[in-house]
Symmetry: C3
Subunit: 473 residues, 3 copies
């Protein structure tokens, strides 16, 4: 029955060289139990606002909210309906969560060698105490085990938050969000630190669905009627102040291309007014976003919020899936990126100002050694964020270190963030990061690049200290 | 004399860690003797049509048909004439094959650390029983040994095909090819499975030399007079049906850029008519090819032929060599590729249809993790083909696995193909693939990513099962 | 106190596998003491012209001339003024070199895992005999030790040159430089071989600051009044002849993009005349440079000077730093590169001519396997230069070998050059290269790719023979 046994080797992801493995283990042991700092992610704050929130069925917890999980099954021809993914038109999808789980179990072999496979193994083993591999034969037994756990008080989000040893968890929230859940959490007296993050994409990206509605919402929540560029900026500054008062440490910005260039206020005003009339062109949208990235850098210098910039994802590439199921269904695909020229306006204006912290995330690894590490190894304002999305993986983290550390050093990087919607995967993701970094640093020790004393500082820096320092948490 | 001994270590390409090496060996042993499935390559079917076909001299078998071999000598200033490569104008080249072989032997050190060096070592050792390294001093002795073997009945192509344990070998054939050799092979009663592959580039790429002649040939072989877009499509469908009846499993398409976009029939007709008049522009050619890639996807959905798409090679980069010696002389050079935007029209129209199997090949490794793995990890129709051309190598295969497996999984890849013109190199190429994959999977085992039971499934999948399944062989 | 001990492990950068490490050590030992051949770098020839030249303070030797060193501190918010970097306007900077050194010492941990950290450890340990790690606590003691050494006759540049076992050192010199220091060195009777390199960028790149002044200088030093394209070419040929007579082995050319295309003499003349009038457009500059790259290839075929081409650096990206401190202050940032199409005109005209040696340097590693190795593995004139700038590092060299050797072989590469301004770092840089190559080749041995006899040839080739052969030194 060994074939079906789920194991989680104590020295997984280390090695293979025995001496490197031993040192990696020693380094990992120094940081394995440090608290988890989560400065960027997509966990719903609602989970913590209601002390009695429950995760639902195993399928509702593990499969349905996680596009990493269901995209792989979709790629093999399994319709999303069969996995219970809700349709935009409210049409019928598989209602039987045991059946959904069974489909997942039967296809779990697809995740061999993938980060999702590694995270889920960790989650099943450590969070749910599962000891057999997920497969067709074991699917229903494992469903029963998880379902039983999810019913217990131990598995309420607040209890898991404490059990996971999370020091702080930042959510990502629209600029127009009144943050009721964050307020409810604070009002409840619960000690868990759940902070909002200011994400203005919905009111910045003129070509985003619902932009005009978002502007109306912005007027309402800010109490500033947005009718021109001046009031638009005022409203945004108002919201940043509100988020900051609610504990926000950072902002987050997205664009397909990391283009930056300043417009005159008059030019920005003209574009904005075209947008109000529904007449903004695609080029307007690009120019306006490029300008607003710069404006937000200015605001960050003024209010101290750390600025995150995620670029390079072509959103909703698969039109049929987008129409049928909506956003975030596993069909965002990376595109090539260019930073040296695109960021020059921003960096020339604000990059020498140490009051700004700008953290860059990329989906184009070819820019690590070529552009991001050289830029971050020079401009005081710039840090390279951890490997993002598809690259948050065993090999992805190794490539990141090998391609950024020599030019940027580790001290121009920003520690780790889990970026997840799947709350229960948080410990697995941080553990993977800490293990891979421990192994990477151990590799430097066995090759005589750093000594053990430096290595012990480095692992504490990359596992815990840097992220707190860079995000000012 | 150890210095001159040719050896082929039993555990080559594994390791270096002893535990990983041991597991790799165990995995490799499970698949080392499985039959070879060859779904894509450029072996001439003539070899098998005539039961008495002989390979000629050692130079004719090993050097002259293999641009991987002679390009390296050319790069060091040795004229192709000196290697017996036939000139387009029929002018004189070195006639003495012993001399050609000697030049090759004297320069064989150039292949240290290269896949050609590895394949030739395997071929010389295993196919020809050579036990000394190819060098100036040993050149003539080795020539004698090979020449003697090539004269024996054991070294007829059909006998080698059986000895190599080839289960199926697919050739690549122009859409206008009447496939006489494939028909002769079947008529002969010989059991070897040699299948044609439908390659319509010569009638699709309007700017290809000889396009008009190819269209005339298309009219003739199809019996459909091609005079407009409608009859053009009919003729192509006729040829696909013919190829399918002759056993074809797949089609193959080439373009410098993987551009796809649909034209109206009227627009396609206009371009085609300009081409008939010799007035097609370069832009016409790009647009027409981009449209025909989509049309062939439609046809594949209808007739079930697997679709292969090879893009990113700048053909005949060296004009002087092209004029003097013609195609395929080692001067095709890769260019940067972009898939996310280029393939969107095709994938949006046909990518969700599981009846389509579209296998992508790239020469731009920076797209593995950035574009190809994310696309193949989402669209049901898409598979990532094995490392192509320069990247079919020890390091190239490692990079491919490390950069695609985490996001696409191995089950969205298409196994191996040898893509070779050099028939005798087939076992060496498949063996290298199986060894590197065994070592890669062993690396996952020693790092605790997969267990041994999964590893044993995986190696059988990547070495044998997947290629049969994806190509429906 | 072990925590503070500086060590330099004898088998550093090898391994970690013990068998690979042992073979790497054996290979390294064969070449560790071979003379250093330095065909490209930026050491000031003045150092050797005056036999009593001294390096000044430790800060003047180690920090202030080395943008690799001070850029990292700048990236962490330490102003360049605080590191004593001279301002363009002559304004005040930190005058106390002990204080500068202390700032450096306190921040030396930033270099953990970086090549600068490795080079400096080597330099401090081997050149200056330091035995404790540079840190806040040890800073002043180490300053004293270095300062004492720098005062001794042992530490004059000529003595270090001999102690370093440098066989030849090539400097990089403007086309208009009358080379007084090189002449003084030869006149002095000192045996050290210091050769100039012809770098015409200042008179070729029309948009470079000071171009017109440089043209006037060119007229003066050549004795040919440059007033049209014809006399411009004559003057350049005159200077090449002068450099060659002074011992130059090579030329060096820079461009942001490796664009090449020939202009008619009339078109070149028109552009040149526009430039004389200060009316050249940016496009003129690109076209003229692209043309002059081709012209210099022609001249190289005629006079035998080896041609080096460094492209892909966006110079002076940080306008504020450039204005305040000038060139070469750590704010040159790489950009994406494309060679296949850009170099086609040059390679089609001159690439088949074995009299030309064109060595390409890149900052875009994604071109190694995709473009540079395929090009160099075909065109007789082409060689791939060693990893440049940010990529001259432990991982950078490994990536270079793993991504070029399989397609280009090692015999289409050009050995090593240190490219440094920091004279005392030369032994460290060559030693790192030799170690990483020894380890790479040992990796081929343990995996059965090459045998020990080939490996011993290869390490001698890459450490010493190839660079002499390619640069004709």
């Amino acid at each position: 029955m060994k074939k079906f046994k789920l194991s989680l080797p104590e020295d997984r992801y280390f090695g293979p060289d025995p001496r490197q493995k031993k040192i990696a283990r020693r380094l990992y042991d120094r940081v394995a139990h440090l608290p988890l700092v989560c400065p960027h992610g997509h966990v719903d704050p609602r989970l913590f606002a209601d002390p009695n929130y429950t995760f639902g069925t195993p399928a509702e917890m593990v499969i349905m909210p996680d596009h990493y999980a269901f995209r792989m099954l979709y790629s093999q021809g399994i319709p999303l309906e069969k996995l219970g993914i809700p349709r935009a038109d409210g049409g019928a999808v598989e209602p039987d969560h045991r059946k959904i789980w069974q489909t997942f179990a039967e296809n779990f072999f697809l995740f061999r060698g993938t980060p999702t496979g590694m995270w889920l193994a960790h989650e099943l083993y450590s969070v749910f105490g599962i000891r057999e591999k997920l497969a067709a034969e074991s699917g229903q037994r494992i469903y029963d085990q998880i379902a039983a756990k999810l019913k217990s008080a131990e598995f309420r989000p607040r209890r898991l938050f404490e059990k996971f040893n999370i020091e702080v968890l930042c959510t990502t929230d629209a600029a127009t969000d009144p943050l009721p859940h964050h307020q409810a959490i604070r009002a409840s007296g619960w000690k868990g630190r759940i902070l909002p993050t200011f994400r203005p994409d919905g009111v910045v990206n003129l070509n985003m669905a619902g932009w005009k509605k978002n502007i109306d919402d912005l007027s309402e929540v800010s109490g500033i009627e947005v009718r021109n560029y001046r009031s638009y900026i005022q409203a945004l500054e108002n919201r940043r102040a509100f988020f900051k008062a609610q504990g926000a440490a950072a902002t987050d910005h997205a664009a397909t291309v990391p283009y930056t260039a300043e417009l005159s206020s008059a030019a920005a005003d003209t574009i904005l007014k075209r947008a109000f009339q529904g007449k903004a062109t695609p080029e307007d949208a690009v120019r306006f976003t490029g300008h607003m990235i710069m404006e937000n850098a200015r605001m960050s210098i003024e209010d101290g919020l750390v600025m995150q910039f995620h670029s390079g994802s072509y959103r909703n590439h698969n039109a049929a899936i987008y129409q049928r199921f909506g956003l975030d269904k596993g069909c965002d695909i990376p595109v090539r990126a260019e930073y040296t020229e695109n960021l020059k306006p921003l960096l020339n204006k604000y990059g020498n100002d140490a009051r700004l912290t700008l953290i860059l995330f990329t989906l184009d690894e070819s820019t690590y050694a070529r552009e991001l590490a050289p830029l971050a190894g020079h401009y005081p304002a710039l840090k390279v964020g951890p490997p993002w999305w598809f690259h948050d993986s065993l090999n992805g983290i190794m490539r990141y270190r090998e391609q950024t550390a020599e030019t940027a050093g580790i001290y121009n990087t920003a520690g780790f963030n889990d970026d997840t919607r799947a709350f229960a995967s948080i410990p697995a993701r941080h553990d993977l990061w800490r293990r891979v970094d421990a192994n990477w640093i151990a590799g430097l020790v066995v090759r005589g690049v750093v000594d053990m004393s430096d290595a012990e500082e480095m692992i504490q820096d990359t596992a815990y200290r840097l992220v707190k320092q860079v995000y000012k948490l």
